[in-house]
Amino acid sequence: MDAIHGLMTGFQVALSLQGILFVLIGVMVGTIIGMIPGLGPITAIAVMIPITYGMSPSLALLLMAGVYYGAAYGGATSSILLNAPGVSEAVATTFDGYPLAQQGKAGKALAVAALSSFVGGTISVIILTFLAPTLAKVAVSFGPPEYFALMLMGLMAVASLGDGSTIKALITATLGFMVATIGIDGQTGTPRFTFGSVHLLEGIDFLVIALGLFALAEVSSLVLKRKEKVANQNPIGSLKLSKKEVKQITPTWARNSILGFLVGVLPGAGGTIASFMAYLTEKRIAKNPEAFGKGELRGVAAPESANNAASTGAFVPLLSLGIPGSGSTAVMLGALMVMGIQPGPLLITDHPDVFWGVIASMYIGNILLLLLNLPLIPYIAKVLKITRPLLISLIIVFCMIGVYGVSFSTFDLILLTVFGVLGFLMRLVNFPAAPFILAFILGDMIEQSFRQAMTISNGSVDIFFTRPVSLTFLILSLLVFLIPFFQMKRKQKKEKSMAA
């Protein structure tokens, strides 16, 4: 069993004193940032990147992975206590979580959320342990045409499955790709779109985009919300669950962990879609659907187990193919590349400590999160009361350090501010930022694999259609692209039949 053996190697990394410490710091920071409404996992990861400078890549990734799934845990707390989801993944948790808090059962809801996150995270990391290496083995045989088609599919999926307008998502993806072409072209050495500036010759650093478009932009939104008073919280109440309640929730956990994992593996989908799907399915199959929305524990358990399972599932394409399927895993990929590691099918053989270390850290991280969250929930919830003005200033400073620490140039800081403004304006007019960062990170790889493939085929595009795997991916990307149109048709039909 390769996987078991590999996992043992991973535990050696993750169970070292440093390993546990970094996972612990990661999950704490992630939980706190995830809890603050408006700040999402991408911001959490991006502001942590400067701290990882000079660290070994495996430890750095432990920290970042901790932040990432910690944020998925933390989102639930503000959903339940304040009816203000910290991250979009936690929106579905408010439906039943907040009513429970109003009935004075916040403790119960928080306990269910923590347990569900634990179950979802753990079940899916077990599947990940066996699936990722298998997939990596298949992917080793992929050549440039396959990679090109696969990445195209990933981009299409993010654009058409994300929430909101597909056209807007495609536009931001195109813009992200355009920004990726700035700098010296790797194949011919031609400087592109540098406007004669030396600073732009190497292209724009990914941290500038991640911190600007997400962290700074989210902070600007916080500026507008800085005066929002933290609502008077009802007493949290007991955290204990009865045996009957646990028995009732167990099948919910099992179903939605697997559902969440599968949705997470798919490019483009991810935690938000997984949690809504989980909530709706659970409501549909329940014997008493009318209880949902009024404070049903299963209504908390379903989305919370699904969104954590999905965030783990998203690691499958990242670790085994080197291709992120979401904005947050794209930022994680960018962070790895800053450290000189290129995830992909060869990661498992070239850097087994990184590959297995991350997977092992997820087992530990989930346990740590449960241990941290259950007894400390009432105290952690107090973080929500940190004064916003101070928090805003500190996050801005962190963004500045992050960029300055890689480039040592104030030019990049100005660029960071420009992207911050752009990110804020994009939010105002409902242009999603995740496709932008994904296209920015994939852009270079897509272009290179396209051109390599064309070099192999001597300039004929047939190469993409005559190789079965690449053809399959291309057909799939077309299908994903068409999904929103089918949905629109179906909706129109429904409306017509309703009117008749």
Partner: protein
Amino acid sequence: MLKTANQKIAVFLFLFSIFYLIMTFNLPSYPYVPVDSDVIPMGLGILLMILSAALYFVKEKSEASKEEHEKIPGKEKLMLLGVLGIILLYIFLLEPLGFILSTLLFIFGCSRLLGYKNYILNGVVSIIFPLVVYFAFTKGLQVALPSGILPF
């Protein structure tokens, strides 16, 4: 003609894509590769042109209800511009003044601007945070931050 925000953005993006395409035509060519460095950018420019046209004409169902986005009151706009100004000031002072002093001023000033009135706590955080971060980064993580006019 420009009724909705989307249409204004669409026109802007359309003009931008033309500008971008002109730039791609001016890229120098390199004869020894099947796909030169201007092919992908050209494709992107054309794609953006098509997409901005689509944004102008197509009204998506999900969009119709969302068309009304939040308006930011004038006072808050000034506040955002103020924060932007103070960030730019911070960037310009970072290297001449050094990380510790400029960050100290920034945290205190920015928190105050945003309405934080607890001067003592604000002062304490503005002094301790830059010091801790500075030494953690320069000594612990070996990332050099500008020392500026301070001797360390």
